[in-house]
Symmetry: C2
Subunit: 344 residues, 2 copies
């Protein structure tokens, strides 16, 4: 059976909004008004409101030749949820705006929103608004997320103190290698479209790239054990860049230990295959969406039993710089690589 294709101009903007609204559900008691008015309304119940926003552009942030639209929708929400988690807050609502060229059918937009709805289910958040428009080329997705927390629970980037332990959730470097695998497969496919790739051994890496998760699970654990990180940030641009952000905003230095950086076995194996050091993937790869945080050692004691937390170093005086002590016991100064999308 051939896939059916419905053009977006058969529905028009109001039709598309009605379709999105009809499939959407409200989960949160805080949501007083969702899609359907000039604005959404949130009842914050005395809590502080945290907001973050991210824009994903086709050809810059994602490549639809290897990114399923459902995964893209899910990821667009997850990366925003991750920013709210990095404030030690809980996400409550999102707005989603999309610009789409007429290359996209209604069925394609449905798939994108299926991923968005799945993420709303997974994170227990409400889609409360947005905008739908045409674009002259490609797909652009802009998500804004609203979260809630209490004033004395917020973890800014600026609160790290000398002597604090530096920790990360999960493992690092996998998402970057997942992207390398997908890019290699794309080249192989172009050369030979009949090629049937077996990606089983890369599954962990590809999933970390295509379907990352915001670590709200860890925010629940912090609340459970009564711990508030002195500083926290999510790892979107790589460990080095994020640690430098914390050190700059907190006015401190830091030492992390290469052998302490959590690397998944698959990441280690595949980094050798690609001839890149796994440490480089962790430091500069980005898109892991794990959390990097600092806290006094006595606070660390309360959560050190959690299996997915790894201490990787210590905050020091600013004058001591920001260094990584390598496996061969050399101290190298960390530099941010980040991404410069404006190149080329």
């Amino acid at each position: 059976m051939a896939d059916s294709r419905t053009e977006l101009n058969q529905l028009g903007e109001f039709g598309l909004i009605e379709r999105i609204r009809a499939k959407n559900k409200t989960r949160r008691a805080e949501t007083l008004k969702s899609i359907g008015d000039d604005a959404a309304v949130l009842h914050p119940q005395g809590r502080e409101v945290v907001t973050s926003t991210d824009m994903l552009v086709e050809g810059i942030h994602f490549d639809l030749s290897y990114t399923p639209l459902q995964h893209l929708g899910y990821k667009a929400v997850a990366v925003n949820v991750s920013d709210i988690a990095a404030m030690n807050a809980f996400p409550v609502q999102i707005t989603v705006s999309i610009a789409v060229s007429n290359r996209f059918s209604l069925e394609a937009i449905d798939m994108l929103y299926d991923g968005i709805y799945a993420a709303c289910d997974a994170y227990n958040i409400d889609l409360v608004g947005g905008d739908t428009t045409a674009s002259t080329s490609g797909l652009i997705i802009s998500v804004t997320v609203i979260g809630l927390t209490e004033k004395d629970k917020i973890s800014f980037r600026s609160g790290a103190k000398p002597g604090d332990a530096i920790c990360v959730t999960g493992d690092l470097g996998a998402a970057f290698l997942g992207l390398q695998v997908l890019l290699r497969e794309k080249v192989t496919y172009k050369a030979n479209p009949d090629h049937q790739p077996d990606l089983t051994e890369y599954e962990y890496l590809i999933e970390k790239q295509l379907k990352p998760e915001g670590r709200t699970d860890f925010i629940h654990e912090l609340a459970e054990f009564g711990v508030v990180p002195s500083a926290m940030i999510d790892i979107s641009d790589g460990l080095a860049s994020e640690l430098l952000h914390i050190c700059k905003e907190s006015g401190v230095g830091a030492a992390i230990y290469e052998k302490q950086i959590p690397i998944h076995d698959t990441t280690m194996l595949v980094s050798e295959e690609f001839n890149i050091s796994a440490t480089t993937c962790a430091l500069n790869g980005g898109e892991d969406y794990e959390l990097l945080f600092t806290l006094p050692v006595e606070e660390f004691e309360k959560i050190k039993h959690l299996p997915h937390i790894t201490p990787i170093g210590i905050i020091r005086e600013k004058s001591e710089g920001v260094v990584m002590v390598t496996s061969t016991n050399e101290a190298i100064t960390l530099r941010a690589q980040g991404w410069n999308h404006f190149n080329g």
Copy 2:
């Protein structure tokens, strides 16, 4: 002196964010944290939080051949402020995300943000976050606005009751005609680049198109006189479409009177020049960003002295339909035209 041009990749994303952050200021006591962390923080002080978002795409919503970048930045904020005003709420914070192709210099982005900062000044709101990224073609701007109000002050689209007066702020149809003037000038300029247009007589219309204002001034007046509209919406797609939204959400009908629709003298004159009825411009033109609202007649009495308020009709039972009584006393059923960006 030649204009200097700085490429965005000379700064990189972090450099651009630092530049935006350095010029930005915080005005509101509610803003606990602005640009510079994973998320912004708002202290709502017991009030309800309203959110709206709009995306503006080059080639769909604006044409830089006749839109100065400062005006575009201002308008991107104003149209979002307008949505918050339409809830009878006050805007407090915005986030702005932009995707730009390398056609744009740093100086161009500075001009865009100058307009954004000017709007923040005009509306007393804080720019608290956003995203900056590259695009493969053109400029895309996504603005999310956050406002505050009290629960019993919110005007939804759904509260209109039979017998309520229907009113609008300002005058209608001007922004649409302003666009027609600009489009005509563009064609003239292409045919003869030496042509020096004299647009003095069209100034009012062009300003309504290029630099519309969100009517927060009227929201302050409503608060002053203790009036809460039973329903309210901002006129972005034309009076007909917005009145139909209110009637649909409220489950009512309506009658408006053509001769009551406020039309500016310039709009009347230029509509004749373009051979379009001024009423059509008001009903289907869009982008006026005035407010359409309903309220019981005794409430209307409290604000009827305000010079920029015009009563244009009355809410009726649903079974009576949604009609406009023309100047020749015919009742015609209103239909939404709206925009269908997905065409062509």
